[in-house]
C-alpha cells in the first residue's frame, strides 16, 4: 500500500538480535517489592509486617483484583505505599527472601473440590493464580468472565509485538508454543468461546518455530502496523466474528496454573533501548526492582527509563520500583534536549493514522478553546483505544492522545454511550 493511504503506524522493529537469543532467567538479588493491587485496606491482606510466607502462599484476597502470591519463601519486612507509573498508588509488601537454598515445595492454594476441567474451575484457578494480562494489566479471570457474559465466539491469544523493541511475549511463545495453545484452549473453554486462534504480528518472524508451521490454521496474522489488534479485530468482525484477546504470557500462566499448580509469579520483560549495552528478554520475578534488570543488561548512567510499552509507557524516576505483570518492557533512552512543541499546523496525520477514525486535531481544538465544551461536538471520542498513534505522528509534538482521552471523559460524564 502507498504510505499515504494506510491507517496505523509502522515502527522500526529493532528486535532481530533480541529474538535470536533465548529468554534469560534473572534471579532476584535482594528484597522484592511486591505490589498488592486492590489491597489498600488491611481486610484484603492476608499478611502483616513480620509475617513469614512460604512460596506460592497468597498474600492478599482483594475483592476487585487478582490475589498476589508470594514468589519465594521469606519474611514480610514492611508494608509500604508507593506510586507506581503503571498501577498508580498501591500498597507494596517488602519481601526479604530466605537465604536457605532448599525451599519448601509450594503449590497453588485452591479451595477443596475445584474441578479444573470445568469452566468454573478454570476461572477459579485463573483467579487464585493471580494471572494478569500483560497487555492491559487486567486480571485474566475478570476478562474471561466478561467475555462469557458478552458471549464472544472467538478468543485470540495475542503475541502482537509490533512496537519497537518489545518482544517478551513472542520470546515466551517461542519457548513453549504448545503451552500457549493449551492455555488458550483452557481459556476459551472457560469463557465459552467456540474457537481460539493465536494472533501474531508477523508470521514470517515465526517461521523457524516448528509448532507454527504445523498449526498454520490456528494462526492469525495481524501485520506489523500499530495498533495491529485494532486492524485484526476489524477484519475478524467483518468476517462475522466477535473476537476478544488475552495476552500470550497470561495463556501460558493459565496452563501452568491448571496443569502444574503454579501461580503467575514471573513475567518476561524486554530490556532494551539505545542506552542498554546488551538488550535481552529476561524472565524475572514480579516485584524485582527495575534497577536489577537494568544492571543485568548493562544500562549506561544518565538515561531516561520508561516502562510498559514504547507507545503508552510511563517515565520512571525511581529505579527501585518493581516489575509488574504488565511491564512488557523497560527501555532506556538517552537524555535529549526537550523538543519544542508548535501549534497545530493542520497536516491531518493524526486523523489519518487513527484506527477508529477519530479526528484528534478537532477534539484538541475544541478543548483548547476553553470554557464549556459541548459533548456533542466531541466526535467519536468515546471510541478511543488509547493507542497514542496520534501523538506519535504529530509533527508539532502535541500530546493529542491526552486530548482525545480528556474529550472521551467529557463525553462519558455527559452520559454519552
Amino acid at each position: 500500500m502507498f504510505p499515504f493511504f494506510s491507517r496505523g503506524l509502522r515502527m522500526e522493529q529493532k528486535k532481530r538480535k533480541l529474538l535470536m537469543e533465548p529468554v534469560r532467567e534473572l534471579l532476584p538479588q535482594g528484597q522484592l517489592l511486591l505490589p498488592l493491587p486492590g489491597a489498600v485496606h488491611a481486610g484484603a491482606r492476608l499478611v502483616k509486617e513480620g509475617s513469614t510466607v512460604t512460596k506460592y502462599e497468597p498474600l492478599t484476597c482483594p475483592q476487585t483484583h487478582a490475589p498476589v502470591n508470594s514468589p519465594v519463601n521469606g519474611t514480610i519486612r514492611e508494608l509500604r505505599s508507593i506510586t507506581h507509573p503503571l498501577l498508580g498508588e498501591t500498597v507494596c509488601a517488602v519481601l526479604e527472601p530466605e537465604t536457605a537454598k532448599k525451599g519448601r515445595a509450594g503449590k497453588l492454594h485452591l479451595e477443596e473440590g475445584v474441578d479444573t476441567s470445568a469452566p468454573e474451575g478454570i476461572l477459579a484457578v485463573a483467579q487464585a493464580a493471580g494471572i494478569v494480562d500483560e497487555y492491559d494489566g487486567v486480571p485474566l479471570y475478570h476478562k474471561l468472565k466478561r467475555f462469557h457474559r458478552f458471549g464472544r465466539d472467538l478468543l485470540c491469544g495475542v503475541i502482537l509485538d509490533e512496537e519497537t523493541y518489545v518482544c517478551g511475549s513472542e520470546a515466551a511463545f517461542r519457548e513453549a508454543p504448545e503451552e500457549l495453545a493449551a492455555g488458550l484452549e483452557l481459556a476459551a473453554k472457560a469463557c465459552g468461546a467456540e474457537e481460539w486462534r493465536i494472533a501474531v504480528a508477523s508470521l514470517k518472524r515465526l517461521q523457524g518455530v516448528d509448532w507454527v508451521r504445523e498449526h498454520r490454521e490456528k494462526m492469525e496474522e495481524a501485520g506489523l502496523v500499530y495498533p495491529s489488534w485494532a486492524m485484526l479485530e476489524k477484519r475478524l468482525r467483518a468476517a462475522g466474528k466477535t473476537p476478544e484477546r488475552i495476552g500470550a504470557q497470561a495463556c501460558i500462566a493459565l496452563y501452568r496454573a491448571v496443569k502444574k499448580g503454579t501461580p503467575q509469579v514471573k513475567t518476561v520483560v524486554t530490556v532494551a533501548g539505545e542506552q542498554v549495552k546488551q538488550p535481552a528478554n529476561l524472565r524475572v520475578v514480579i516485584g524485582t526492582p527495575l534497577r536489577e534488570l537494568l544492571d543485568e543488561c548493562g544500562c549506561l548512567p544518565e538515561s531516561r527509563i520508561f516502562v510498559g510499552s514504547p507507545m503508552t509507557g510511563k517515565l520512571v524516576e525511581d529505579l527501585e520500583l518493581p516489575v509488574t505483570a504488565d511491564t512488557r518492557c523497560v527501555i532506556a533512552s538517552p537524555h535529549t534536549r526537550e523538543i519544542h512543541t508548535y501549534a497545530c499546523i493542520g497536516c491531518g496525520r493524526c486523523a489519518a493514522v487513527c484506527p477508529e477514525k477519530i479526528l484528534p486535531w478537532y477534539l484538541y481544538e475544541n478543548l483548547q478553546r476553553g470554557g464549556y465544551t459541548d459533548p456533542e461536538q466531541l466526535l467519536r471520542a468515546q471510541n478511543c483505544r488509547g493507542c497514542n498513534s496520534c501523538s506519535a505522528v504529530c509533527p508539532s509534538g502535541i500530546s493529542l492522545g491526552k486530548a482525545v482521552r480528556a474529550a472521551a471523559e467529557v463525553r462519558e460524564r455527559s452520559g454519552w454511550e
Binding site: 493542520g346 491531518g348 478537532y362
Partner: protein, 331 residues
C-alpha cells in the same frame, strides 16, 4: 531514527517534526530553482536570497517587537520566502520580493501567532500585496530569446514578452505548443513554468506526506473542468485544458500553495471542497479579473472560508453520528 525528548508518552517517536516537513519543502523548492537559474542566470538566486532574508528579518523583528521566543528550527519563513521568489517575474527589481516577504511575515503571519495560527497563506498575501502595488511590473517578463543572462544589479532591459497566460486572457492561443511548455522555456513567474519538474516535486512531497494529494488533485480537476466547459482558446476542450493548466502560476500553486496544511481544511471532504472551489475561483479570476494570474487572490478568499468549511464538514459528521445513534436506539 527515534527521538525521545518528549514529556508525555509515547517517548519514542519518529522524526516527523514540523522542521522535517519544512526541510522537505525547502529541498524541493531549491531543486525547482535550478531550471530558472540556468535559464535566467544568477539574478534569480539573488532574488531568492533577498526574499528569504526579508522573511527571516521580519520574523526576528516581530519577535523582538512582541518579546517572543524565536524558533527558527521550523524554517517556515524560509519556505515562504522561496515561494514568493517563485511567483515573481525574473527581471523584477529587488524591492518587490523584499516588500512581499516583509508583508507576508510581518502582517499576514506573525501577528496571528506565527506558524500554525495564521489564517491566510503568508506567501499568497505577500504576492497579492505587491501585485496590487505595482501590477504592471509583476506581469512583465524579460525576453530571453536573445540568449545570455539577466544582469544582477542593473535594472533589466525594457524588452519584455507577454506570457501564455496573458495571451489566454486576451483570448488568443499562446504562441507555442503545449508539449514545449512542459519544459518551462516560456515567459512566466520564475518557478512556475517547469511543469515537469513541479510534477516530480509534487510526487516527492506526496510520498513524504509534506503535502496532501487530495488538495492538488481536486484543485487541478476543478480548474480543468472549468477550462473544458468555458474554453478561452479556439479548439477542442482538451487544448483549452492543456493551455490553461500549464500557463501562469496555476500548476505551481496547485502543488505548493493550495497544499499549505495550515491554511487548508483538515478534513478530507473539506480538502476536496476547498481544492475544487479554489480551482474554479482561480479560473474565474483569470477570465474576468484584472490580472492574468488569479491563484493568490483565490487562495486568500478561500483561506477565509477554511474554518467554515471544516466546521461544516464536522457538523455534518456530528449530525450523521447522532442519526446513527438514534437509529440504534430505536432498532
Amino acid at each position: 531514527m527515534i527521538l525521545s525528548g518528549f514529556r508525555n508518552p509515547p517517548f519514542l517517536r519518529r522524526v516527523e517534526s514540523v522542521g522535517a516537513m519544512m526541510r522537505d519543502m525547502i529541498f524541493v523548492l531549491l531543486a525547482l530553482l535550478m531550471i530558472p537559474t540556468l535559464y535566467y542566470g544568477p539574478r534569480v538566486l539573488v532574488t531568492a536570497v533577498f526574499s528569504v532574508a526579508s522573511c527571516m528579518a521580519a520574523e526576528i523583528l516581530f519577535a523582538l517587537f512582541a518579546r517572543k521566543d524565536i524558533h527558527f528550527t521550523e524554517l517556515s519563513s524560509a519556505v515562504t520566502g522561496l515561494i514568493i521568489t517563485m511567483l515573481m517575474p525574473a527581471g523584477i527589481s529587488y524591492w518587490a520580493p523584499v516588500t512581499a516577504g516583509i508583508f507576508a511575515v510581518f502582517v499576514a503571519k506573525a501577528p496571528f501567532g506565527g506558524l500554525g495560527r495564521n489564517p491566510f497563506n503568508p506567501a499568497a498575501a505577500g504576492v497579492a500585496f505587491v501585485t496590487l502595488l505595482r501590477p504592471a511590473e509583476m506581469f512583465q517578463y524579460p525576453d530571453m530569446s536573445a540568449g545570455g543572462f539577466l544582469p544582477i544589479f542593473a535594472e533589466t532591459a525594457d524588452a519584455s514578452v507577454s506570457s501564455p497566460a496573458a495571451a489566454l486572457r486576451s483570448g488568443f492561443r499562446p504562441g507555442m505548443y503545449p508539449l514545449d511548455m512542459l519544459w518551462g522555456q516560456y515567459a512566466g513567474p520564475i518557478g512556475t513554468t517547469g511543469i515537469l519538474v513541479i510534477a516530480a516535486c509534487a510526487l516527492f512531497l506526496f510520498a513524504r506526506r509534506a503535502a496532501d494529494w487530495k488538495l492538488t488533485a481536486s484543485f487541478l480537476l476543478a480548474a480543468a473542468l472549468y477550462a473544458a466547459v468555458f474554453p478561452r482558446v479556439i479548439g477542442s476542450p482538451l487544448t483549452s485544458i492543456k493551455y490553461e493548466l500549464m500557463a501562469g502560476s496555476l500548476f505551481f500553486c496547485a502543488v505548493f500553495m493550495v497544499t499549505d496544511p495550515v491554511t487548508s481544511p483538515r478534513t478530507s471532504v473539506g480538502k476536496i471542497i476547498y481544492g475544487a472551489l479554489a480551482g474554479i475561483l482561480t479560473m474565474i479570476l483569470r477570465e474576468f479579473g484584472r490580472f492574468e494570474q488569479g491563484a493568490c487572490f483565490a487562495l486568500l478568499i478561500l483561506n477565509a472560508c477554511r474554518p467554515l468549511i471544516d466546521r461544516g464538514v464536522c457538523s455534518w459528521m456530528i449530525w450523521k453520528e447522532a442519526r446513527h445513534e438514534s437509529n440504534e436506539r430505536k432498532g
